[in-house]
Amino acid sequence: MKRGAILYGFVILIGIIFILRLFYLQILDNPYQISPIDNASIKRVYDYPERGYIFDRNGKLLVANEQSYDLMIIPREVKPLDTIEFCNLLNIDKAKFLKQFKKAANYSKRLPSVFIRQVSKDDYAYLQEKMHKYKGFYIQKRAIRNYPLKTAANVVGYISEVNEKRIKESNYYQQGELIGFQGVEKTYENYLRGVKGIKRIQKDRFNKEIGSYKNGKFDTLAIPGKDVTLTLDAVLQQYGDQLMNNKRGGIVAIEPTTGEILALVTAPTYDPNLMVGRIRSKNSVRLFGDTINRPMYDRGLQAQYPPGSPFKIITGLIGLQENVIDENTIFTCHHGYKYGRGGFMGCHDHASKVNLNFGIYTSCNAYFANTYRGIIEKYEQPRDGMNIWNKHVESFGLGNFLGYDLPVGSKGLIPDADYYDRWYPAKNWTATYTLSNAIGQGEVITTPIQLANMTAAVANRGYYYTPHIVKDVKGENIDKKFVTKHITTIDKKYFEPIVEGLFDVFEHPNGTAHSSRVEGIEICGKTGTAENYTKINGVRTKLTDHSIFIAFAPKDNPKIAIAVFVENGYWGSRWAGPIATLMIEKYLNGDTSREYLENRILNGSLLEEYDKQINDPEYRAEGKN
């Protein structure tokens, strides 16, 4: 009897466990609950608004819409049909029909899935007449994107079908809907897409529609997407694309007085129309899969390079602010700068006895090495000097994401004392350990947009606005952070001598960009050449220097600030300088006057150099033996 009695206990225990579980499920709050308006007897019908257009700053249409037609299926409602006729209508074979049907049925028998995506217009007209014969199928109109100017793919981004993860995170998106994936399409998704309207229709238990649910109390109207106007100048952008043809690198042009991005060129790039419609998935694989040219990588925002000589501007400004130098301070330079025991930073051929102005327009390494050392050594501890230096540099927006309204970017690097403490655990480092920072080599790393923004701050003589790509969203106020002035830690008066030096880069016969000067425009600029390395077959190999140029114009009341990087282009004055000045000329004058130079750049190619890096076992960086 005793052993048998256990069974009573079991039955009662299990009964109690079940009742408690049901109490939790049916009485208490729990994650399995579903809202009553998500009731299965209510059919939801969506009304998709048209996605907003995207214009450039002058009202040129960059992104428009085009109608497309998706054939949708609700597997549960499909009645037996003449598959052969149906397949012929759609130009598919029976295997494809079965595959698509199975796929849809696996997803859900009662929710709509896409059966054939983006049916052509001709097929649509034909299908439209016959649709009534095929129960469970219907055609859904959808707008797809169209890019009439075929430019700025990296800026506008693209739209694509929303992925599972996003569907789970938000309660807005449904399977098969489109969402912005890159660029402005992504950051301004909520404005561009508008809000879809929802109609709820009550069904009875035989799945027949019996009218609107609660007289449409819960129905919502579609709100159309808003048009977005960019700060981009489409003409300048297209011109930049042409100049960068067959080269790798980036151009970023900013209007200094507002922080508006006028051009954001990355090369190589792609025609945004490739990422639309039925050809998208094929092209997407190809473009994302090109790990050598990396067309989907925005070099203007993401690529990190040592800034090289343009960084001397910052070194000079900090020197002035910290009273380490004034505009008359003179250093000597005998083909370089000697420091410590046997340390030597080479410099090119120019006269000795260097003052600030001369130091800038000839890009003298020794002058700025002296200045940098003075800054770091001004304080008792190199740590303090380094942190002061870091604070000044970061006030130009370097070493951080700038906060612009595009979804990608890189941070760059401006080292501080803690950074070197990690590198030298003994903490015995001094100014000379970090001397390369003076001339924008060493540890300093920047992105082209950071450099363009820095240039804008110099052009403004001490402040910048956060760079941004959207000028106006219809009916919305522009984000406050884009109209907030960021003031640098350098006093306004210290900018004038530096700006004079940058002007002489063009104007003085010995200036490093004298050959790129433009008649009638007062351009200030600075050449740069940055050393860079890569691993070839596991060996750290020096590549040909990057060609760098920053500039702004006109000198007083500047309208454009620009940074140009051309990967492995060697001297700054060879590629980047001409590109920068041509862009400035094009923007300010609407046309260019230097036909010979323009043709040299448009037709110039660095493909041979890039090819050699990969395929030539004898590869040597240009200028090195």
Binding site: M1, R3, G4, L7, Y8, F10, V11, I12, I14, G15, I17, F18, I19, R21, L22, F23, L25, Q26, I27, N30, Y32, Q33, I34, N39, A40, S41, R76, K109, R110, R205, F206, N207, K208
Partner: protein, 429 residues
């Protein structure tokens, strides 16, 4: 000396019959709700599932009458023959069985199919009762353990090979009657520990190559040794070999768990375990049924949406809703009140079987009674436990509720043989 009664209804336990009728009736109401559609809604539409179920219910009446008509002695005498016939019918499936949903579990006569495994339960219960009621039988000699195990494992094995492992698991419920009749308790301790270690090993995962559970076992073992060494060193001296043996076997078992799970289980089995252990939260594919069933039950709330008003039931949200997932219909349309009613009804039904079994004078009837009580309990626990998300997916029907003729007749047979045996108790002395 036995004397047979004359009226077949004399001595029949009214409570059991009443509860049987209630279960079948409530079950059919829910099958009707789960299987009506725009094409089938007339009650006497015999092309529909609920219409067919009505036929099966009707046909169970002659089965009941035949079962009640047959003399008690007949069940005892022919228990072995019934058993052998049911074993042969299971073997026959491998020759002429019909494959439905991947398992060869059915004989087909035209569109009519019958599943012998549903009847094998009753006949195995008779065979077990016959063996255990033998005057000479006790669980003392080990060879009798083997005999008893053989009787239940043979049909279980044949059913596993169909393959229908869920239905085979039901045979484990016979272990209770073995225990009741004298099987040593250590089988349960070992079995329980085995299952516990198995689940814990999967749940807790491993650190490097060592499963978490092996660390726990080592710690427990060391604590035990220390405890014995300090308080009871004579016992330690006496049992150290057994202790070490247990430790080694436990360790080997733990190490083999991952291997068995990864290499012998099929992916669908792994998925089911992972869902219940909370290691995956997939609700789109593998966990779809259970997730939908739980949401459906939850949406019923306290008093339910009402008969035929459950939109998720009517909208076919839960696959297999009229068979294995029938309880979700109860939950949605009849709410907490209805669900609790069904649970209490089943509990009382099983308790009544135990009570009746306990009052039997003959071992044969008692053993048979306990066997069917545990079989009903097993189905009840596994099925509802699965539908409300407490147990992994094991597809076995809810007695008298789930759609299906074989299952209904099998359970009817199981119950009424017992009612027949019990009806005769006052005539035995």
């Amino acid at each position: 000396m036995q004397r047979e009664k004359t009226n077949i209804f004399t001595g029949v336990d009214g409570w059991l019959v009443l509860m049987f009728i209630l279960l079948v009736f409530v079950g059919w109401i829910n099958i009707y709700s789960a299987s009506t559609s725009e094409d089938h809604f007339e009650i006497l539409d015999f092309n529909s599932r609920y219409g067919k179920q009505l036929i099966w219910i009707g046909l169970s009446i002659p089965i009941i009458i035949i079962v009640l008509f047959i003399e008690t002695r007949f069940y005892e005498r022919f228990a072995s023959i019934f058993y052998i016939v049911s074993i042969l019918s299971l073997i026959g499936l491998f020759v002429v069985g019909k494959n439905i949903n991947g398992a060869t579990s059915w004989y087909a006569l035209g569109s009519f199919t019958i599943q012998p495994a549903e009847f094998a339960k009753a006949f195995t219960a008779l065979a077990v009762a016959k063996l255990l009621s033998d005057q000479a039988f006790t669980f003392k000699p080990f060879k009798n353990h083997i005999k008893a195990f053989f009787i239940i494992f043979l049909p279980a094995l044949l059913i596993t090979l169909q393959p229908d492992p869920g239905s085979a698991l039901v045979y484990l419920s016979f272990f209770f009657i073995f225990y009741r009749e004298g099987l040593p308790g250590y089988y349960f301790v070992v079995g329980f520990m085995g299952i516990l270690i198995f689940l814990l090993t999967l749940k807790l995962g491993s650190i490097g190559v060592f499963p978490m559970t092996i660390l726990i076992v080592v710690v427990v073992f060391l604590l035990l040794i220390i405890y014995l060494a300090v308080y009871n060193s004579t016992k330690l001296k006496k049992y150290w070999m057994q202790l070490t043996g247990v430790f080694i076997i436990a360790s080997l078992f733990i190490f083999s768990v991952q291997f068995i799970f990864n290499n012998i289980f099929e992916q669908r089995h792994r998925d089911r375990f992972n869902i219940v252990l909370g290691k995956t939260t997939d609700t789109k594919e593998i966990g779809y049924n259970t997730d939908q069933a739980i949401k459906t039950i939850t949406s019923g709330g306290f008093s339910g949406k009402g008969f035929l008003e459950g939109d998720r039931t009517q909208g076919d949200f839960v696959p297999e809703q009229d068979t294995d997932y029938i309880f979700s219909t109860v939950g949605e349309e009849w709410g907490f009140i209805g669900s609790v009613f069904v649970i209490i009804l089943f509990s009382v039904f099983i308790i009544r079987i135990i009570q009746v079994a306990e009052r039997q004078k003959s071992t044969f009837s008692r053993v048979y009674g306990y066997s069917i009580a545990t079989i009903f309990l097993f189905h009840f626990t596994i099925n509802i436990g699965m539908v409300i998300g407490l147990l992994p997916t094991i597809g076995i029907p809810l007695p008298f509720f789930s759609y299906g003729g074989s299952s209904l007749w099998g359970f009817t047979l199981l119950l009424f043989i017992f009612i027949r045996l019990d009806a005769n108790r006052s005539f035995e002395w």
